[in-house]
């Protein structure tokens, strides 16, 4: 498939990041197209997580974080002074490797985002919770224990609950940072299928150090190595005919 030339939802121009004196990312530029799955692949410590944490300004909390370059979300500078950071984080959700849930019921975990956005009517919340759990493929499995403690869920179910929680506020972009790192192969397939489904109405960025997983889930892939973006292109191209020798070595398992 070709990279479709729509208006990019995210544009990254010459992004460099430092933690103190350590340079983590070195002048990256690429664009994320809407309603596609963009995978970011690369060996451990190549800067993948640092990069995606810039996309919803999570690095703001990291001491000694410095950056140069720019990130445009639908054309506006995400790091401009007037940017409403909370609004950005609502539009750009994130799912992490470990499914960390709030110490509330399953229902409240999903309703949380909607509540803090000012929705309090219970019928409205019920609708949001059901619809979101349906989308994340969890509804049939947990309908009967909705008000129970999420601790009783399997780790894969908890991860899908985290995805439901992120989806409840209708994000435009959802970032997955190694979401299957803790999961068994069966749960992993469920998450991968979910990611493929979600791109119908959401843009997805998928960080993984599992090459084959990137090949399975993504439309477009970028290979990061030592803080640089070595190659960016359609997943088909990256996995059948990569142009850079380092990408070739990484995808064939000789590097990393």
């Amino acid at each position: 498939m070709q990279i479709e030339e729509k208006e990019p939802i995210l544009s990254i121009h010459n992004l460099s990041v430092w933690y103190g004196d350590d340079q983590i990312l070195n002048s990256l530029s690429f664009e994320v197209q809407p309603k596609q799955v963009t995978a970011l692949i690369g060996p451990a410590n190549c800067g993948k997580s640092t990069l995606v944490r810039c996309f919803n300004r999570l690095n703001d909390f990291t001491p000694n974080f410095k950056f140069s370059g720019e990130i445009l979300f639908k054309g506006s500078d995400m790091y401009a002074e007037k940017t409403d950071v909370t609004a950005i984080r609502k539009k750009i959700g994130m799912v992490f490797r470990k499914p960390e849930l709030f110490r509330y019921s399953i229902y409240e975990n999903v309703a949380y985002g909607a509540r803090i956005s000012g929705i309090n009517q219970s019928s409205q919340l019920d609708t949001i919770v059901e619809r979101t759990l349906q989308r994340s493929g969890l509804w049939n499995e947990i309908e009967s224990i909705l008000h129970g403690n999420p601790e009783q869920l399997s780790i894969g179910q908890r991860q899908r609950l985290c995805i439901a929680r992120a989806l409840a506020v209708e994000p435009e972009i959802l970032i997955f940072d190694e979401p299957c790192g803790e999961l068994d192969p069966i749960e992993t397939v469920k998450i991968e299928n979910l990611v493929r489904d979600l791109r119908k109405d959401c843009t997805l960025i998928f960080v993984t150090n599992k090459r084959r997983q990137a090949a399975r889930v993504s439309d477009v892939a970028g290979f990061l190595y030592c803080g640089g973006l070595i190659e960016f292109g359609t997943t088909e191209k990256i996995f059948t005919n990569p142009q850079d020798t380092r990408t070739e070595h990484y995808v064939t398992g000789r590097l990393g």
Binding site: R211, F239, T240, N241, P242, T247, E248, V251, T252
Partner: protein, 213 residues
């Protein structure tokens, strides 16, 4: 390691190609010298080619299943499967030539072989170069083969014409004529198969499909 497995597989393909080249050489020699015994040897060698073909195909499938290759390794294995098939076809065509050669040795000659030794030389060189290009991952050489195939096609057309003229004047030669016609056809097909290998090698090296272009 997949890398070592691939080296082993390539070696096997090379062995098979060597055998197919030998069959082609012997088949052609058997026509020129009217040596039906040599032709029989070619026919008998075909079983070995079939064994090679099955063995190579199984290895490719096994390596794809077990290693789930990507990038150049994936391209190598898909190319190897096609090259394997083309070599088997070349051997098949050599057997067909050998069978015609046995027939022709018992029939009166239509005319002296003028173009045949030349075409034989060209297609043998094409097959050899196609295999060399595969082994050495040489895209340029692979492309050249395609161009030489055009020359073979032209000579084939010319021979066809010439044969028709002779046969219309000498109907008693029809049986030898048809045999010779089929023989030319098999040789022309070998040229096509060498060109196909060239196209697959181009894909292996460059990642671009040039077939049908």
């Amino acid at each position: 390691m997949l890398e070592n497995e691939i080296k082993g597989l390539q070696h096997k393909i090379l062995e098979m190609a060597g055998l197919a080249e030998q069959m082609l050489r012997q088949a052609i020699e058997s026509i020129l010298t009217r040596d039906s015994e040599l032709a029989e040897i070619v026919v008998a060698t075909d079983d070995r080619i079939d064994l090679f073909e099955n063995e190579i195909e199984s290895s490719c499938i096994q390596l794809i299943a077990l290693h789930q290759p990507v990038a150049v390794e994936l391209r190598f294995l898909t190319t190897a499967m096609k090259v394997n098939h083309s070599i088997e076809r070349i051997a098949d065509k050599s057997v067909a030539i050998a069978k015609r050669s046995i027939e022709l040795s018992e029939l009166p000659p239509v005319k002296p072989f003028v173009d045949l030794p030349y075409v034989a030389q060209v297609i043998q060189a094409m097959v050899k170069d196609a295999i060399d290009a595969f082994v050495n991952r040489n895209a340029e050489r692979a492309l050249e083969i395609r161009e030489r195939d055009n020359e073979v096609d032209e000579i084939y057309e010319r021979m066809l014409h010439e044969l028709l003229t002779i046969l219309s004047e000498h109907p008693r030669l029809i049986e030898s004529g048809i045999s010779l016609l089929l023989l030319f056809r098999h040789m022309e097909r070998i040229g096509d198969l060498a060109a196909n290998i060239g196209e697959e090698v181009y894909y292996l090296v460059k990642g671009d499909v040039i077939r049908h272009s």
